[in-house]
């Protein structure tokens, strides 16, 4: 089953794994081609991308704004390195509107049968930020999605 798996990774990291039924070349392209991104990186139902800059080369800028009626939030960051079709390293932060701590993300795509296993390593700046990310999830009744994280904490 192709579901998102999230686990803790060391003191400051979170590891996400997801399988896709397409080869790494296609999955990589879907992560770097702005026209493709616009079709899937939309966030929760009801949200649309109102603005996107996604300059997929080292140092290239990332800036996305999502909107849903009167509400909006944005993401900013930059690419660190790209190794098609296997690896993307980038930094991102959300603006709520105050910026969240920088999240350093390494995304890897490995062939897995006729599909792709994506492994995404998120690194927060410190253990406090990472633990709080999980702790507040429990606090505010969002435990469903974090049950698997909790089990490992």
């Amino acid at each position: 089953m192709n579901s998102l798996e999230m686990t803790l990774d060391g003191d400051t990291g979170i590891l996400c794994k997801r399988r896709f039924a397409a080869p790494p070349e296609k999955v990589f392209k879907a992560h770097t081609d702005i026209d493709l991104l616009r079709q899937w990186m939309l966030g929760p139902d009801g949200w649309t991308i109102s603005q996107i800059e996604y300059d997929a080369r080292p140092g290239g800028k990332i800036a996305i704004t999502w909107e849903n009626g009167d509400e909006s939030f944005s993401l900013s960051g930059h690419f660190v390195s790209l190794e098609p079709p296997h690896r993307i390293v980038h930094v991102e932060r959300f603006h709520m509107p105050d910026p969240t701590p920088d999240n350093h993300i390494e995304t890897m795509f490995e062939a897995d049968g006729d599909g792709t296993l994506m492994v995404m390593r998120m690194q927060l700046p410190d253990k406090e930020a990472r633990d709080a990310m999980i702790a507040t999830g429990m606090e505010e009744g969002m435990s469903d999605s974090y049950d698997r994280l909790d089990a490992l904490a």
């Binding site: 998102l4 997801r18 999955v27 879907a30 929760p44 910026p99 700046p125 406090e128 507040t136 969002m142």
Partner: protein, 105 residues
Amino acid sequence: MNDSLSPALAALADPTRRAILDRLRAGEASAGTLAAPFDISQPAISRHLKVMTGAGLVTHRRDGTRRMFRLAPHRLAEIDAWLDAYRAVLEANYQRLDALLAKDD
């Protein structure tokens, strides 16, 4: 950079402070009431409350000689929105990507 979330996240990393927040969800409470369940001194609780106030997680008012604390929901809502953004964005996005990858063969 206007990084006002980091102090809130750091404040939340402490289990005593998270327990205080849990108690405050039931409503306003004095520093003495908040200290009661813990095996720590009143000054230690006061220090926790000071950190939490500084981080924008709680606020207080004077009631005679007592200080009455309550949740400051704005900051928690911001942190929640961040988490919700990650979870919801990832889950919804990848289902959409599945459909896209299946489509254009």
